[in-house]
Structure formats: C-alpha cells, structure tokens
Subunit: 348 residues, 2 copies
C-alpha cells in the first residue's frame, strides 16, 4: 500500500471525493465531482473511475444508490500522498505564538494550553497527554516550613518535573527538627524507584528519627503517591462538545463510548505510551487505533520530546473525515513553538 500506482486523474478524483466528504460528511456522487473540479471529463467517465477506485479498496458505497465515501485506506492514501499542505492564516499563527509565549517552563502548563488552543482552532476534541514514565525517581526533596504542624514537601523528579504536597501532622515540629528531617529524607530516600523504598529503609530511618518517627509514615505514603501519580501519566481533554458537531457521533451509543473513553484515561494513555516509533507525528485512522471505541475516529497527535525521550503529546480526536491537512499544520506549528519555548527555558 506504500505507493499504489494511480493515474493522475484517479488521484484528482480521489482527492476531490475525500475533500468533499471531509467538508460535508456525505457520500459524494459522480456529478458533483464532474462539475466542481478542474476535471474535464463527464460524470460517466468519473463513474467508471470511481468503480475502479472502489475495487482497489479506496472507496466504498454506503448502499447501492448512493455516492462514494473514502475507506480507511482511502484516507490513508490521501494523508500520505494527496493532502495539500494547509497554510495557516496569520491570525492563527499569531494567536498560537502569543499563547505559548506565556507558558514557558512547566510541561503540564504548556500541554494544557496546547490542548485548549487546539480545541478552539480545529473544532475537534483535543487531548494533552503526559504518558506514564515507568520509573519515577526523585532526585531531591525540598521543603517549605509552614508551621509547627504543617510544611510543604517538594518532590524534584529526575525528569525535572516538580510536585508538591502539603503535609499536616499532630506532632510539634520545630524548624530545626524540620531541617533535620529533610536532611534525612534527602540522605535516605532519593534516587530510588518506588520498589526500592523498602521496609528496612523505613525502619532504619525511624530509628534515627526518634520522637519524630511518626512523621515518617505519612511522608513515605506521600512519596509513594507522588511517584505513582508521576508514573501514572496525566490526561487532559478539551472541547468534548465538538464531538456533537459531527453526525458520526449523533448516535448515543457512539457518543457514550467516546465519553467513556475520555473519562477512563487509561486507554488513551496506553495508546500513546505504548509506542515510540520515532515518528513525532502520528496519524491513526479508524481501526488503526487498536481501541474499539475509536474505530470510527481518527486520532492525530504530536509528541513532545525532551532529551530524545517522549515526555508528552498533544493532538486531536475526531471523525475519520477529519480535516487532516489543517490539523496537521496546526499541530506542527504548535510543536515548533513548544520546542522553542523549552530550548529557551533550558539553556537560554
């Protein structure tokens, strides 16, 4: 399927059909094609060509007396070989740049903004993903002393990410004790994966702590949770309502499946975490998605890398008749902007 040989005319016809169907969502008839385009042949000729395209598996008919719609293969061919590069408007570029410029630094913040932007620009549902990382390691603990009974714990992960958690305790903890506690934490619990935080370590630490020992348990629990949260990945979704704009989600069953998918973040996370093929732009059409609920949808996303490793992704989910070229252009632009922002943030 890499490079199916198609006559120039067939390519034009396929392109016209795909684009019309993307636009109007309805089967495309031979007459519409004949009139509309720079094709100089009659509808009868187009009918013949369409029949051939159908036998090649690029088009299909919903029923005998209807026009044609593209198959998944048809879309695939379109995306790979036919789609024109969409040229973003100055307004679009401007607005994206402006928004990104404010959000340098925190990955979560950047992804969040990206998601919002994408949703409002494309009129599709947008997702922002921080995939599960597999082995969170905390390289440092910092803390801010709030009162005798409370302090903020700051977890600094190897990835550069930072999480915080406010701890409360019935114990009376002086600033000095607090400092000592933090020193112990940094000495005994950094550089470890969740599995490496063994009971013996904890017992040993408790022994050292003396009367502050009861403080350790909730802190260790917090550490665990922070690691798991960090490992577990994050998912944000914007513009769910856009689904309703497309008749392919008008059936309650379909819609329900999608909403369930969005609510159970596991699935989408898996989808992105599973594969790092090296390609930064992923276009998954229909059943290519390997999730039942998405077999009538397209999922396009772009990964965000840091030091070669995938640390995030953002993209859109919508009907298979998605405006691929526009979406791809927007994702690419956004991606560039984000890379720039990070490069500045890192060493600039």
């Amino acid at each position: 399927m890499e490079h199916l040989e198609l006559s120039e005319r067939k390519r034009l016809i396929l392109q016209a059909i795909v684009e019309s169907h993307i636009r109007y969502g309805e089967p495309v008839g031979s007459k519409a094609i004949a009139e509309n385009q720079q094709l100089t042949c009659s509808s009868a000729t187009i009918r013949n060509e369409m029949a051939e395209l159908e036998s090649m598996g690029l088009l299909e008919q919903p029923h005998t007396s209807a026009g044609r719609i593209p198959t998944e293969l048809g879309y695939r061919y379109y995306v790979d070989s036919l789609a024109q590069k969409y040229r973003m408007t100055a307004m679009e570029i401007e607005q994206i740049n402006r928004t990104l410029r404010q959000k340098i630094g925190e990955l979560d913040g950047v992804l969040e903004s990206a998601s919002r932007l994408i949703s409002s620009f494309t009129n599709y549902t947008a997702v922002a993903i921080r995939p599960r990382s597999g082995s969170a390691v905390i390289t440092r603990f910092e803390s801010a002393y709030l009162s005798e009974h409370a302090f903020v714990l700051v977890f600094v992960f190897a990835s550069g990410e930072v999480k915080t958690k406010t701890m409360h305790t019935p114990l009376f903890v002086s600033p000095e004790e607090h400092a000592g506690f933090m020193q112990l934490l940094n000495a005994g619990f950094t550089g470890l994966t969740a599995e490496e935080i063994t009971l013996s370590r904890i017992v040993e630490a408790e022994r050292v702590l003396g009367n502050l020992a009861p403080l350790l348990h909730p802190v260790v629990t917090a550490i665990y949770e922070a690691m798991n949260e960090h490992d577990g990945g994050e998912l944000r979704i914007d513009g769910v309502g856009h689904l309703l704009e497309y008749p392919e989600y008008s059936e309650p069953a379909q819609l329900r499946e999608m909403l369930a998918l969005f609510e159970e973040k596991e699935n989408l996370l898996k989808l992105v975490s599973a594969e790092d093929t090296g390609k930064d732009l992923q276009v998954h059409i229909g059943s290519e998605n390997a999730i039942g609920a998405m077999s009538n949808s397209a999922f396009i996303y772009r990964t965000v890398r840091r030091g070669g490793k995938v640390v995030g992704a953002f993209g859109v989910i919508g009907p298979t008749r998605m405006d691929y070229s526009r979406v791809i252009a927007i994702l690419n632009h956004l991606s560039e902007g984000i890379s720039d922002a990070f490069d500045e943030g890192e060493d600039g």
Copy 2:
C-alpha cells in the same frame, strides 16, 4: 409556597407521582398510582385529586392523553416536605469513609475525590468547585533551590492554600543569592492583594536587587498568575457520560448546551460564588438555576466552609427528576466526612 395546605391523600399521591417519575422518567397515570400504593381509593378518585393538584400548579400534563409529571413547583414541594430520608447502605458509607481518609489536607484533593465518589455513587454528573475568592493574599513565599538556573517557588496563601511554580532563569543564581532574593520577596511582597503590587514596589525591589534585578519580572508575573488562578476558582467535573443515561439529554441541543456549560467553567463558578445564603445545602430545581442551559436540570450542591467562609463546594447536576433524597444523603455524609478530616488536619 412555603407551606401549601395539602390533604394527607394529596400528599401521598404527589409523593407517589414524583417518585415514580424520578424512577422511570415517564408520565404517571392514575391507574398506576391506585394499584401501587397504600392508597385505598380507586383510580377515578385519584384522577380527581390529580386534576386538583394540577390546578394548584404541582403537576402538569405533557399532553391531554398522557399521565401527569411533576412541575418544578411539584419537585420543590416534594423536596421541602415530602422526601423521605434516604438511608445509605453500609457499603456506601464504608467506601466513602475509606476514600476520604486518604485525602486529608489539600482542599483540591479532597474536592476532587469527592467529585469522583459522587459521580460513581449517584450516576449523575458531579462537580467540585473552589469558588473565586476575590482577594488572594500571599502570606509567605518559600522556595526550593534546584540549580543555578531554576528554583521552585511556593506560594502560601492566607487561606492556607499552597501553590507552586517552577521558575527558570538564564541568570546564574547562587544559593546565597537565592536566599537573599527570597528574603526580599518575603519582605516586600507578602500580605498584598494583586492590586497592591504596585510598580513602585517593583522598581524599589529591583534597585535593591542589583544584578539580580532581571529575575524579578518573571517572578512577579508568576505571583500575579498564582493569585489570579487562586482568585479565579477551580472547577472539576466527573461523570459527564452519565448525562446520556437520562432521556432528557437525548436531544443533541440539550446535550450540547450542557457540555458547553461544563467547558466554560465561568458560569458554574458564578452560580456558586454568587450566593452565600448561609445554607450549606443548596437545591436548585430547573429555572431556579438562573442559567438558561440548566432550566431542565437540577443542581444540588453542598458547600465546604473553613472558618465560616465558603472555600469549596461539591454536588451533582442531572435531570430535574433527580433522586433528591439519595443525592442529598450522600452529599451530607460526604460533607460530614470532609469536615471531620479538616478538623483533624487543622488542630489534631
């Protein structure tokens, strides 16, 4: 409407109709009532009573030859005077308690868990809200030094809330400089509302800082943002998919409106922020909601107070034929649990 005089029989009939309609979502006929209940009269009698209830504005007929459904007023009467106290199952209580026990301390975390719990228990869409507070004041800055080019800023708000933000800078900042910078921040920028952070303060601080002056601008921006974020309120929604379980949201238009409502957090925030009537449990039925999109929905929420001030709220949104007694019971129980958790956290 406070205490409409109704005969005992009318009350029973109204209650039966409301409960049947809550359960099945369909108009209730006289026959069903007559058979079902402990009423000892015939369907004809009930028809007469129903006609009267209708003329009082408590019931209505979707069309001439259908049964009756409660009006908003009917639901209101039911909620105020008729609803039985729902008794939670041991399982429900157990699970709520267990979940809450893990989430002591961070308001956001508690609200989040509450929302999830509510959604899964009630089969309605759940919301958790931290309303806009109006005047965020930071009482203290803490910081954790990460590297010469990065540190974590911790904002401690007067409300006890804590926010963090990771700062990057191209400057080379030594630990000592960092400590000095933090000292200045605490000296010059605590106890202020956003408006009180004036340019003159900033200029003065820059003067003191000397070569570290360029650091101030991004930090002040971050402070601004943190305050606004804190002021702006937070909204979390779970179980959107549950809407689809109720035919009142089967029309795309309805659904769309709701999804739009959920995505534009402003509206819901306003709804809760606007009023602090002193009542902790709010039941808004239909048009009582003062948001067009919600005129066919009920919104029940419970506020969370701290020191007498409303700092959060959680509740459910669903069709007007909501299972009021069950929802209210669950919200109340949850609320108790949360109060307990906070009391422990504060002084325990």
